[in-house]
């Protein structure tokens, strides 16, 4: 444990009292041959230790790109961070040289991915891929690294960890593979864990087990967890706060109870209304009409205006709605948030 602390102290400007993770006005664009695709257009959020922040949104709204930008693993080119800050304990990670940045990955901020089968290297054993972390970041010997890897597999509740350490990813079931991913992410005791749709590729019973495991490990370690998902059901169970993203912007940020009870942005409201509910059996399911905008041609004004029931002329013109403070710790990017909440 001491060596982890030592590594943190190396980061210049580190302030233990600063927020654990703070993302300010993050902009990411992809420069492709078809034009510039603006994937993230001003993402803001903060994360405290022990807190679970869910980033919610449809496919292509910029959730995963935000996560990759925080990790610093964007494919560049074509991806470029054009503006903003990603502060870990007061240190702007975007300004760090690559070598320093690399130390932050897995040590302070770790990430797990959606599809563990493709996210794990098919030709190396699970043990090798786990031990690699200890050997590269901690300079451990093969034997020690292996011992630690077995402990980790035990912690994520993989049965017969000692025997399975020599197995390849394809020899595990989907749920067990995701546990391996989690073990890998937690290997170096990070303070922030980003989970990018960790349960999407799994069936429902396994989903619940994995989310339960994540919640348990988070509590043990007092980790900040960013949970990226489009599954409102998963969010309601585990998240403390929710950031709803649309077309690369956080359109509403609120505590989980507030947002489920009284959403303050028409998009968040529409998302909630589109959840199938047992008491609405036999009725037409609410859907959000239209498609999310192409990121190469985001509408003027509020990006959601073409699909919005509340849209007025002011929504169709630049500038886009600012971030209104609905309540302390609660924001909405809608000119008419009072109407939305009031209903």
């Amino acid at each position: 444990m001491t060596d982890i602390k030592a590594k943190i102290d190396v980061l210049p400007g580190l302030d233990p009292r600063a927020p654990l993770l703070e993302v300010n006005d993050l902009h990411v664009e992809f420069r492709t041959q078809y034009g510039i695709s603006r994937a993230v257009n001003g993402a803001n959020f903060t994360l405290s230790p022990g807190e679970t922040l869910a980033i919610l949104g449809e496919s292509g709204c910029g959730k995963s790109v935000t996560a990759q930008a925080i990790m610093g693993i964007l494919d560049s080119p074509p991806g470029f961070i054009t503006k903003g800050e990603v502060k870990y304990r007061g240190v702007d990670l975007l300004k760090l040289p690559e070598k320093e940045r690399r130390k932050v990955r897995a040590n302070q901020i770790a990430m797990i991915f959606q599809d563990a089968l493709s996210a794990l290297n098919p030709v190396f054993t699970v043990g090798y891929q786990l031990a690699e972390l200890f050997r590269v970041h901690r300079g451990m010997s093969r034997g020690d690294a292996k011992k630690r890897s077995i402990e980790l597999l035990d912690q994520v509740k993989i049965p017969a960890a000692r025997a399975r350490i020599g197995d390849y990813p394809h020899q595990f079931s989907g749920g067990m593979r995701q546990r391996v991913m989690i073990a890998m992410a937690l290997a170096l005791d990070p303070e922030v864990l980003i989970a990018d749709e960790p349960t999407t590729a799994l069936d429902v019973t396994v989903q619940a087990q994995i989310m339960g495991l994540l919640a348990e490990l988070q509590q043990q370690r007092n980790m900040g967890l960013i949970l990226i998902t489009h599954d409102m059901g998963v969010v309601a169970d585990v998240a403390d706060r929710i950031s709803v993203m649309y077309a690369g912007k956080v359109v509403e940020e609120a505590g989980v109870y507030d947002i489920y009870a009284r959403p303050a942005h028409p998009y968040a409201k529409a998302l909630l209304e589109s959840i199938p509910r047992l008491d609405m059996k036999g009725q037409q399911l609410n859907v959000i009409k239209g498609l999310p905008p192409a990121l190469t041609a985001i509408p003027q004004g509020c990006a959601f205006n073409p699909r919005c029931a509340y849209a007025q002329d002011v929504c169709r013109q630049d500038p886009a709605p600012p971030s209104y403070i609905v309540a302390p710790g609660r924001t909405s990017r809608c000119h008419f948030w009072r109407d939305v909440v009031g209903e």
């Binding site: 990790m71 990955r105 599809d115 996210a119 972390l133």
Partner: protein, 308 residues
Amino acid sequence: MFRYIVRRLLQMVLTFFGATFFVYALMFANQDDPIQALAGERPITESVRQALTERYHLDDPFLLQYWYYMKGMLTGDFGTSLTGRKISDMMEVAWPVTIKLGLIAIVIAAAVAVTSGVIAGIRRGSIFDNVTLVITLIILSLPIVVLAPLAQLIFGIKLGWFPPTAGATPTFWALLLPALVLGSLVIATELRVTRSSVAENLRSDYVRTARAKGLSRKRVIGVHVLRNSLIPVVTLIGVDIGGLMSGAIVTERIFNVPGVGFNLFRGIRTEDGPLVVGFVSILVIVFLVVNLLVDLLYAALDPRIRYE
């Protein structure tokens, strides 16, 4: 795994007989007058002709001839060439030369192809990538019957960097130019496969994971990407050995390398049936064994492959 190997070995026996029979039949059908071919321009007396016909079973039915031949070969007797030399003696001289030539060719080709392929795969669209593309296209479009004499003329005779022909006991240096020509047969495809394989693997999810683990770029590419990318390349190199064997016929002939290809060329031209079939039989075995080894290596490299 064991069952798989046994099954493959049984298949090899069938392939071996099929291939040798085919070659034997071709040599037989092609035979015009081997005795005259043996004698060259000189006239042959009737008694000599009769003696030779009897000695080589030339009057027996075709199947019987094949039977005599196989019986001899399986007991280690490859017979004698129409030139009178024992074929096993000729092989003893020829094989080491060709193995040396082939190994130099494979090692050079693989080293160049993999190194440039990896660089081109990482820097797609760069100058290096485009230059290698053009060079490989040129090499691919030049048949070896053009490339070999051209290389001999330029590097052997005009520039004098290499000996233009190898001679009876070739040194490493003398084999280098023919090996380069031979290797160029396979270098282009190996390079292209490495390049596309590396490019594809670089885009895969596990590379993102490796980067998220805070590994250096060197380690991500040198360990994670390379190990995956080399799987198709290794398989290709195995298959290429067959191509090298046929390329050796032309190359050895042009550079006067006294190897298998050189003997085969001479055998085909003089209609020397026993010589051709003997050498081809060993070639078939070499090819089959190499391919079996490559398939086993494939399973060792890619843990997802399991042979039943």
